[in-house]
């Protein structure tokens, strides 16, 4: 029965009410269809790291502020914490697979798909708009492809990642803050012309 229910991210009304302008130099996209798993694991103990990598079919990043790509995106969130971004439909299954594989390790896997909203921020002024609310140095030499950071954006906490093609950013924000953050982004981007692609 749940298959018949449309999943909501909560920003539907906001996006629908937002007018886009032509010649926009910033594009804000609500990325749907994403699932998220939170993984806690001590990489120094036992073989949890390898086990998890096998289950995911890709390595967990051990370098701070980086992420790995492959079937999923695995973001480094802390020395024993990762956020796994995958397809919405796969999240539950992947979560239980991981849990099974890591049953003998001290690990915690939680499905947090509904707890996050992913936004794509692209366009030639994307970096300038983010810099209005983020204290990180976003210069590509400091923060380039493959890099991510949990940090502040405006008055919200976000996971900020450089898009694979380096042409934009992914902003992952806690769901209850998503509406605020979208309004903030729309406001900050307004002088640059902003577009909300309709899916």
């Amino acid at each position: 029965m749940s298959e018949t229910i449309e999943r909501r991210h909560g920003l539907e009304a906001f996006v629908a009410a937002t007018e886009s302008v032509g010649g926009a130099r910033v594009e804000i996209d609500v990325l749907t269809g994403r699932g998220f798993l939170n993984l806690r694991l001590d990489p120094r103990k036992g073989n949890g790291l390898e086990t998890a990598a096998r289950a995911l079919n890709q390595p967990l990043p051990l370098t701070a502020n980086t992420f790995t790509t492959g079937e999923h995106r695995v973001y480094w969130c802390g020395p024993d914490e990762w956020l796994i971004e995958t397809d919405e439909e796969r999240a539950t299954r992947l979560g239980s697979d991981l849990a099974k594989a890591l049953a003998d390790c001290h690990a915690a896997i939680n499905d947090v798909s509904s707890g996050h909203v992913a936004l794509g921020i692209a366009g030639e002024d994307a970096r300038t708009v983010l810099a209005k609310g983020c204290t990180l140095d976003l210069d590509p030499r400091e923060f380039g492809p493959g890099q991510c950071a949990r940090t502040g954006l405006a008055k919200a906490t976000v996971l900020l990642a450089v898009a694979d093609d380096a042409a934009g950013y992914t902003v992952i924000v806690a769901r209850s803050f998503a509406d605020y953050l979208c309004r903030w982004l729309a406001n900050a981007a307004r002088p640059h012309g902003v577009r909300f692609p309709v899916p």
């Binding site: 701070a64 502020n65 802390g78 914490e81 940090t151 502040g152 906490t157």
Partner: protein, 113 residues
């Protein structure tokens, strides 16, 4: 606004952190064995030095790790950040930052280019 070195994430603005008070306060193993005065000392008394102060910070908007910082309470100059001992009792080395350049001292000058 301070620039604080998270031992894991690197230099971040103070706004990403929360303050946790003086470092090195150890919870008594057997509180019941303590007199009221001894317990009050653990509870309320802090060194509050003028000068070097070892204190706890939490990278609340980042990796959520608690770590130590040695900060001068007069100049606010941060001498170093350090990780706390883990279960094995060993602390990682921590990050020393050159105050003049803001670089970690073990980094090559200008190496990011």
């Amino acid at each position: 606004m301070l620039l604080i070195d998270c031992p894991w994430c690197g230099s971040r603005a103070e706004t990403e952190f929360s303050y946790g008070g003086e470092a090195g306060i150890v919870r008594p193993a057997d509180p019941d064995a303590l007199s009221d005065a001894e317990w009050a000392d653990y509870l309320f008394n802090r060194t509050n030095p003028r000068g070097a102060h070892r204190e706890l910070w939490n990278h609340a908007q980042g990796c959520r790790r608690w770590f130590g910082v040695e900060r001068d309470t007069v100049t606010y100059r941060i001498a170093r950040s350090f990780t706390l001992p883990d279960a094995a009792g060993a602390a990682d080395g921590g990050v020393e930052r050159d105050f003049e350049t803001g670089d970690p001292t073990d980094a090559e000058p200008g190496d990011r280019r």
